[in-house]
């Protein structure tokens, strides 16, 4: 099966994020008050062949640990969707 994966990588909680802070300070200048906790990260999207969704998840977790994130300073989340025969997508 072919899966579509989206991996979000951000600095870990507690690690200062100067880009996020700068954005957070800029937003009130446009009238958007009450915004806090801005974190800037990366989105990495790809397609992936795997037998089933649990294999896809285990592959994606491995990629995150070994390359996509540096877990000393970054944390990651992902979502995986599978392409079904009729082209519809289902969340796994």
């Amino acid at each position: 099966m072919t899966f579509r994966a989206g991996v979000h990588v951000t600095l870990r909680p507690g690690i200062a994020d100067p880009q996020g802070l700068t954005i957070e300070r800029a937003l009130p200048a446009l009238g958007y008050e009450g915004v806090s906790g801005v974190r800037v990260g990366k989105l990495i999207e790809f397609e992936l062949d795997a037998a089933d969704s649990s294999e896809a998840e285990s592959k994606v977790r491995g990629m995150c640990e070994r390359l996509l994130a540096n877990t000393v300073i970054e944390s990651y989340t992902w979502n995986i969707t599978s392409e079904t025969v009729d082209g519809a997508r289902e969340e796994s």
């Binding site: 600095l11 690690i15 200062a16 100067p18 880009q19 700068t22 390359l67 996509l68 540096n70 000393v72 300073i73």
Partner: protein, 230 residues
């Protein structure tokens, strides 16, 4: 006796010629090693120079650690031989797990290119035998991601083990504990953000970088002169 220095060149390295010139002026023999090679020539010291290895895509140093030569570099370090990573080379060593911690973007989100002063906090390492404790070295920095970080337990362990070798006199980038350069737990691998190879002749404004490179050469030559244990 002469020390032999292998300088690894990645696609995107740009400080290899400066490293070559500085080590040769101090009396070493040097050789460039292409990142795609699988074996190192017979060298006493390996240098990972500064630059933008593999374009620094994804994260600084993240892809360089997959270059074929890095396996041989890790074996060189595991054998107790000297390995130094300068600037991008430091970032590569952290990503490769050969040094603890990671380099984040500078606190002020500015690329910094300027002279800094480093204090030698641990004399007597293979990288600082020519220095005294607290000696201040004037060496330039040139980086965007020099803000070193490690978790509190790691930092405490490194302090106790004398691995925080160089600290900035005035922290330019937010680096934890003012760290400018660190060693591994066995003391034969060093990473630092400042560029000693750009401070090895008076014409460039400082010769203090030669304290670091010269210490490394002294260490190698001392080992060559010491008879191997029977």
């Amino acid at each position: 006796m002469t020390a032999r220095v292998g300088i690894v060149v990645f696609p995107g390295s740009n400080c290899e010629l400066d490293c070559q010139r500085s080590f040769e002026r101090l009396g070493a023999q040097t050789e460039f090693v292409w990142h795609d090679d699988h074996v190192l020539p017979d060298v006493d010291i390996v240098v990972l120079p500064g630059g933008f290895a593999h374009g620094d895509y994804l994260r600084t140093g993240a892809l360089a650690r997959f270059s074929p030569i890095m396996q041989a570099v890790a074996e060189h370090a595991a054998a107790g031989k000297l390995l130094i990573g300068i600037c991008n080379g430091f970032q590569v060593l952290c990503e490769a797990g050969l040094l603890p911690g990671a380099l984040r973007k500078n606190e002020g989100l500015k690329f910094l290119c300027k002279w800094t002063e480093l204090s030698v906090d641990v004399p007597g390492t293979p990288f600082t035998t020519r220095a005294e404790r607290g000696q201040v070295l004037r060496v330039p920095i040139n980086h965007f991601e020099g803000n070193w970080y490690a978790d509190p337990d790691t930092l405490e362990q490194m302090r106790a083990n004398d691995q925080i070798v160089f600290r900035y006199v005035k922290n330019p980038n937010g680096s934890l504990d003012g760290v400018a350069g660190i060693a591994n737990d066995t003391g034969n691998v060093l990473g630092l953000m400042p560029h000693p190879e750009r401070a090895c002749e008076s014409l460039l404004g400082s010769e203090d970088g030669a304290v670091i490179f010269g210490s490394m050469l002294d260490h190698v030559i001392h080992l060559q002169q010491t008879p191997a244990p029977v």
